[in-house]
Symmetry: C2
Subunit: 470 residues, 2 copies
C-alpha cells in the first residue's frame, strides 16, 4: 500500500496504536483508502513504521470496532468505507427491526422487551388525565420549563429520597424517555473523535447515538460481577474517555448485575482517571430477590449521571423519564434538551406527576414485579426441568435471559429458523458493535404469557437441535 | 504569529479562503492558537501566503460567523477559543431564556410566540383523549412504528392532498415537534465540517442544532422577496452546502414571505448545485390575506424536506409534527428518529389522528386565524395611528412584527429597559449567529390581548424615546 510509507505518527500524548488508528481512520474518511481495500499485513505494517506488532493489531482492532474495517479469517483486514458522524443504516439490523415491527399478532415474541399492553394501568391513567385537564385547562398544553414541570421534579426528588438517593431539585432533568436521555447526554458531552467506553455486549440504541456524534467507542467485556475492571483500568492507563456507559442492574442483554466491589471500584476509577459514568437504570425496580443498589448511591463526587427509564416498568408510549445531572453539566444538558425537542409534553408531565403523587406508580410497580416474577419462574423452571441443555445465567431480576448457543451455531441463522416457526428471538450479534457473531441469543419474557413461554422454548430448542445437526 | 509561515493550503477542490478558514479553525480547536490571541493583520497574512487580501477577509469572516473569532473595531480580529461540536452555552442567551421562563404572569409578553392557552381547544381534546383510551386501551401506550402511527400518517397524507401537496405515505415521518424535526434532519444529513446555509436573521433553535453537529454555517440575508438569490448563488459557486434551511412563509423573525420568483429560483438552484432545501413551515396556515404556496409545492425533484409544526396553530405542549422526506433520505431519517426518542408518544399520535379525522383541526385553525387577525389589526392600526415612528414591515400573516430601531440604539439595552417596565420583547440580536447588535426587535402578539398590545406598544415607544435621548 503506497500510503503507509508516508504515515506520520506525531500526535503527542496518545499511545502509538491510537495515533495509527486515527491516521488510518482519517484516510478512510477522506477516501484515500478505498472501500474493500486490503490493509497491509500486520508484520509488514509494523516493520515499515518501526513499531511493535501488537501496536498494529490494536489499531486494526479499533478500526474494526468502530466500523472502519472488517477482517476475513485467514485473509486479512479490509477497509470499510464510511464517513464519521453520519448515521449508519445497517441493512441487517434494519431488517431485524422491520421484522419486529411487522404485524405478527400471532407470533410468540421473545424479542420485544416492553411490557404486555394488557398489564398497563389504563383506567387509572385515564382518570388522572381527566383530573389534570379539569384542573389545568389550556395550561396543560403549554411549553414547560426546559428542565421539566417543577411539581413533577419535586415529586421525583421525594421518590429518590425515599430510595436512598441524595440529590437536589436542580439536578433533575425531565426527558422524553431514556433514549432521549442518552442522546442529550451525548450532545452535551461528546465531541467528534472523543473516546467513550461501553460494556460488551450492550444496548444497541446507545452505540448508535455515540457513533452518530463521531465518537470512538471502546467496549470492555462485562462479567457476572459487572464490567471487567482490570481490563478497564488497562485501557484507562492509555486513554482518556469522556464517560463510560453502563447498566449496573440486570444489564441488557446479559442480565448481569454489578457486585458491590465492582461498583466501588468503578466509582474509584472515575475519580482517579477523571471520567463520568452514565448509569442507565432501565429496570432496577424489577428485582425478584434483593433490591439492587444503584451506582449513583455510591457516588459522593458527582461522577454519575443517572438515566431513569419508565418504559419497562410503566408504559413505553408515555415517553417520559429523568436524568440526575451533576451541577457542572447542568446548563449544557439543559441546552441539549432544548435543541432536541424544547421540552417534554406538558400534558404527560402533569399526568405523570399526579399519578406518582397518588401513590399509583409504586402500587403499579409492585403488581408488575409480581407478574414478571411468575413469567421469570415459568421460564427458568421449564428450561431447567424440560429443556435442560440451555447454557445460561439466572439473573436476579429483569426480563431477559442471555443464552449461549452450542459451539459454531449462528444466532442469525437461529433467528431466521425460529421466525419461520413464528417465534421471534433477538440474535446476540445485535448487541455487539458492528454485530459480529458471538453465539448468543437474548430471550425476553416481558410480553409473553406463561403458556407461550413454554411453547416458544420448545420451538427454539427444536430449532437449535435441527441446526446443530444433532 | 509564528504559525502562519507554516500554513499549508493544499486541500483540493475547495476555494482558498475556505482552506485558510479550515486550517485556522483546526488550530483554534487544537489550542495551537489560543483564546484572545490576535490574528495577523489582513495584508500581512495575505502577503505571507501569497494570496489576495479578499481571501483573508473572507476566511476571517467565516471564522467570526462560526464563533471562532471576533473583531474589535479598529484593532483587528481575535481568536475565540471553542471546541467544535460541543454545545455552546451562551450566557447572554441563557439569561434571556430564563427571563422568558420567569414567573411574570403580570408582564405584557411580546417575546412568547406560542398561542394564548385560553385559545386552546381543551374540552374538544379531552373528549378525543377519552374516546381514544376507550377504543385502544393499553395499545395506546405501546411503542409505535418509528415512522409514526399509520392511521395518523394516512390522515396527514389526505390533508396534504387537499392542500395541493403531492406525496406518498412512505414520505411522511411523525416527529415530536418541529425542533426535533430540525435535530433529526441534521443528524441524518450533517457531518462534522459540512457547510450549511441559513437565512440571516433566522430561528436560533436551528442554528444551535447545526452548530452542535459541527457544521459550518453561512447565512445569507433575507429580503422582502425571500432569500437573496444573487448572494446565494455567489456562495454556491464556491461552496457545496448539504442543505439550506428556510422559512418561506412569514419568516421568523422578519415576517417576510418568498415571492413566486424566489421560490422558483431556489428550487432551480437546488437542482443546479445539488443541495437540499429544508422548509420549516411553522405557520403558513396563519395567512390573513392570501394563502401562501409552500416551496414544497414547486418541488418536482425531491429537493425539499418539509418540516411541519403545529405548535403555533394548535398547542405547543402536544409536541407533535411531521416531515415530508425525499425517498433517498428516508431510512437515514428514520434511523435518526429512532436514536432520538424511539418513537413519538403513541397516545398523542392517536389522539391527534382522531382530532384531525373529526375535522376539528381545520375548524380550530380557522377560528384561531380570526383571533390572531384581530390582534394583528390592533397592533398595526395602533402603530400607524398612534405610535407612527416605528419603521417596520407589515407581514401578510403570522404573529411577528420586525421593527427597526433608530440608528445606534441597542436592542439589548431596549430589552432591559422594557423589562423594568414589565414588558418583554425579543432583542433582534437573538436571531443572528453569534448575536451581534443589528438594531431590531421582534414583537410577537401571539399571547397578548388587544388592550395589552396597545399598552405595551406605548411603553416600548417611551423606552425608545428615553434611550434615544429624544
Amino acid at each position: 500500500m503506497k500510503h503507509t510509507a508516508a504515515l506520520h505518527l506525531e500526535r503527542c500524548g496518545e499511545p502509538i496504536y491510537v495515533q495509527l488508528y486515527m491516521e488510518l481512520k482519517k484516510r478512510i474518511e477522506s477516501g484515500e483508502l478505498s472501500d474493500s481495500q486490503k490493509l497491509p499485513p500486520i508484520r509488514k505494517m509494523a516493520k515499515s513504521l518501526n513499531v511493535n506488532n501488537v501496536t498494529v493489531i490494536n489499531a486494526y482492532k479499533l478500526l474494526e470496532r468502530n466500523g472502519y474495517a472488517y477482517s476475513r479469517a485467514g485473509s486479512g483486514v479490509y477497509v470499510m468505507a464510511r464517513r464519521a458522524g453520519n448515521i449508519q443504516v445497517d441493512q441487517k439490523y434494519d431488517m431485524y427491526l422491520k421484522s419486529q415491527m411487522a404485524d405478527r399478532a400471532d407470533a410468540i415474541d421473545f424479542a420485544k422487551s416492553s411490557p404486555d399492553p394488557k398489564l398497563f394501568p389504563v383506567s387509572d391513567f385515564k382518570a388522572i388525565l381527566n383530573e389534570v385537564l379539569d384542573r389545568d385547562l389550556g395550561y396543560a398544553f403549554e411549553y414547560t420549563e426546559v428542565k421539566g414541570y417543577k411539581p413533577l421534579r419535586e415529586c421525583i426528588l421525594d421518590m429518590l429520597c425515599r430510595n436512598g438517593i441524595e440529590c437536589r431539585i436542580e439536578d433533575i432533568q425531565i426527558i422524553s424517555g431514556a433514549q432521549q436521555g442518552i442522546d442529550i447526554v451525548a450532545k452535551a458531552m461528546v465531541d467528534y473523535n472523543d473516546i467513550i467506553i461501553t460494556e460488551r455486549p450492550t444496548y444497541t440504541g446507545a452505540i448508535a447515538v455515540f457513533k452518530s456524534r463521531g465518537a470512538d467507542i471502546i467496549d470492555i467485556p462485562i462479567t457476572q460481577e459487572g464490567i471487567d475492571c482490570f481490563k478497564l483500568e488497562s485501557v484507562l492507563k492509555e486513554q482518556s474517555p469522556k464517560f463510560i456507559y453502563v447498566m449496573s442492574s440486570f444489564q441488557n442483554p446479559t442480565g448481569f448485575s454489578y457486585s458491590e466491589e465492582t461498583k466501588e471500584r468503578l466509582i474509584y476509577l472515575a475519580g482517579k482517571y477523571d471520567f463520568y459514568i452514565i448509569e442507565d437504570d432501565y429496570l432496577s425496580d424489577l428485582y425478584y430477590f434483593e433490591k439492587p443498589k444503584l451506582l449513583k448511591q455510591y457516588d459522593k463526587n458527582d461522577r454519575v449521571i443517572l438515566i431513569k427509564s419508565f418504559s419497562k416498568i410503566f408504559m413505553p408510549g408515555m415517553r417520559i423519564g429523568f436524568l440526575i445531572v451533576p451541577p457542572k453539566l447542568q446548563s449544557r444538558v439543559a441546552a441539549a434538551k432544548q435543541l432536541s425537542d424544547i421540552s417534554t409534553s406538558g400534558l404527560i408531565q402533569r399526568a405523570f406527576d399526579m399519578y406518582i403523587r397518588n401513590n399509583l406508580l409504586d402500587r403499579h410497580i409492585k403488581s408488575i414485579r409480581q407478574k414478571y416474577y411468575e413469567r421469570y419462574n415459568t421460564a427458568i423452571q421449564y428450561i431447567d426441568g424440560s429443556i435442560k441443555k440451555f447454557d445460561y445465567y439466572k439473573p436476579g431480576g429483569g426480563v431477559h435471559l442471555w443464552i449461549k448457543l452450542p459451539e459454531g451455531l449462528s444466532s442469525n441463522m437461529l433467528y431466521s429458523e425460529c421466525l419461520m416457526k413464528n417465534v421471534i428471538i433477538s440474535p446476540g450479534s445485535t448487541f455487539f458493535i458492528n454485530r459480529p457473531e458471538h453465539g448468543y441469543i437474548r430471550l425476553s419474557f416481558a410480553s409473553t404469557g406463561p403458556m407461550d413461554i413454554k411453547k416458544g422454548l420448545d420451538i427454539i430448542s427444536d430449532a437449535i437441535e435441527k441446526l446443530s445437526g444433532e
